[in-house]
């Protein structure tokens, strides 16, 4: 473990998870866990205020580990997004995740930015959040208690815009992506922004589901930048489950989603646009699914 201190700025470079947890245990200050720093440093006034830094890049288990397990893929929260994008098995099994991450910032950003950072920022416009949500991603929260991480669903992490439910000096260690249960999987992701690269979302939509005997057996719908939390559109989902997909149903689903989301007007877009386009994206998604099945 190395601690360096300079003009009131303290920063730690723990070499493994045990060292990291030990730092947290003995620390009396509020710590800021950093990895890619892409969002932190872009907000200059926030960056200036941070005095106690823990560099998660030092912890190889968190910044390099991508592990295939029997029930899914475990990804270190500090692995740069390009490491996930270029992983052949993730590309194959979780194409929707790769497509979403490819739309985060630019390649320069993807080489530094991490899933953990995107989640912990808790921006309603966080690009990966709707996709993590439809993939039922599980977050492993440290420090460990009796050698175990606390496990929560991604939908439980945000308490409001830019606010998380994590207590002081807790960190995201890993994200577990369970392999989806269904066969004949369909999925859809679209992000709407001012331009394709480096745009903050006006809105986004992630859909994942599967058919059985000609009917939708399961579908998960999560929209980004139109709700204050990471939330699935449960009402719209249940209107679609166990149904055969036809034009009438697709139109009902579109209307249902427009009613179910609660967007706000801000500098990037307004309520009317967000509602309408979100509904249209769902229609687009379902028509595409109908064509392919």
């Amino acid at each position: 473990m190395s601690l360096m201190q300079e003009n009131e700025i303290k920063f730690y470079c723990p070499q493994n998870i045990n060292e990291l947890d030990q730092i947290i245990k003995t620390s009396k200050e509020k710590l800021t866990f950093v990895a890619g720093t892409t969002d932190l440093m872009a907000l200059e006034h926030e960056w200036k205020k941070i005095n106690n830094l823990v560099d998660l890049n030092c912890v190889k288990e968190l910044s390099q580990k991508i592990e295939i397990q029997s029930d899914g893929i475990l990804i270190g929260a500090a692995v740069p997004m390009s490491g996930i994008i270029n992983h052949s098995l993730i590309k194959d099994k979780f194409t929707i995740l790769v497509e979403a991450l490819q739309q985060v910032g630019s390649e320069q950003i993807q080489n530094r930015a991490t899933l953990g950072g995107n989640i912990i920022n808790a921006s309603p416009a966080g690009d990966s959040l709707p996709v993590l949500n439809v993939l039922n991603a599980q977050l492993w929260i440290g420090p460990q208690k009796n050698g175990e991480f606390e496990k929560i669903q991604v939908s439980e992490i945000m308490s409001g815009p830019d606010e998380t439910t994590l207590k002081t000096n807790k960190y995201i260690a890993y994200v577990l992506f369970p392999f989806p249960e269904g066969e004949n999987l369909f999925w859809y992701f679209r992000k709407v922004g001012q331009r394709e690269a480096l745009a903050i979302s006006k809105l986004s939509l992630a859909v994942l589901g599967w058919f059985k005997n000609g009917k939708i057996e399961n579908i998960r719908i999560s929209a980004g930048a139109v709700t204050a939390q990471v939330k699935r559109a449960i009402k719209t989902e249940s209107a679609l489950i166990n149904k055969e997909l036809n034009e009438k149903l697709i139109d009902e689903a579109r209307k249902s989603l427009e009613d179910e989301i609660a967007p706000i007007t801000d500098i990037r877009s307004n309520v009317e646009y967000r509602k309408q386009i979100c509904g249209e994206l769902l229609r687009d998604a379902l028509f595409q699914v109908k064509l392919e099945n």
Partner: protein, 171 residues
């Protein structure tokens, strides 16, 4: 804090503020002024450099993460044989006007051509260069220069060799 980092093949031992930006270290401390500051927020790509072989915005990298790192700026590409043809392609296509974004575009060019998967389409180039902004050319000429480079096998081979010399030889 004291850190050691290698910039353009030369090691530097420097004393810096832990939260100082790599961009400021390069420009103000080490006088590599080829790297430019545009937005300072990771959007324009004028400050793009290769950090341990991957292109990043140097305005978003703090000093405390740099210990032992290898940085290549546009000045460092003078050591690369492929630099001349890249420069020529940009000039001949009229892809450089005010020149401010050019260092970032050249770094992105070597990074893109090193990783490229064939065939190189205009769409692929546009996606790969989404993080570099130019306010003069309207992009058409830049895209033409990159496409021209990507279509030449000897350029691609040369990049692979230069890359090897830069990153593998000295380990």
């Amino acid at each position: 804090m004291k850190i050691v980092l290698i910039v353009n093949r030369k090691p530097y031992k420097i004393n810096v503020e832990p939260k100082r930006r790599l961009l400021d270290i390069l420009r103000d401390d080490l006088n590599f002024i080829g790297t430019k500051e545009g937005c300072g927020k990771g959007e324009c790509g004028a400050c793009t450099v290769l950090l341990n072989g991957r292109r990043v915005n140097s305005c978003l990298v703090p000093a405390f993460q740099l210990e032992g790192s290898t940085v290549i700026t546009v000045e460092g590409l003078r050591n690369w044989k492929v630099f001349k043809p890249i420069e020529r392609a940009f000039i001949e296509n009229g892809a450089v006007q005010c020149g401010f974004c050019f260092p970032g575009f050249v770094i992105s060019t070597v990074s893109f051509l090193k990783e490229k998967s064939s065939p190189v389409t205009l769409d692929k180039i546009k996606t790969a260069f989404g993080g570099n902004i130019c306010r003069c050319t309207g992009y058409t000429k830049i895209l033409a220069a990159i496409q021209e480079l990507a279509d030449q096998k000897d350029i691609i081979d040369q990049i692979q060799e230069d890359w090897k010399n830069e990153f593998n030889a000295r380990k």
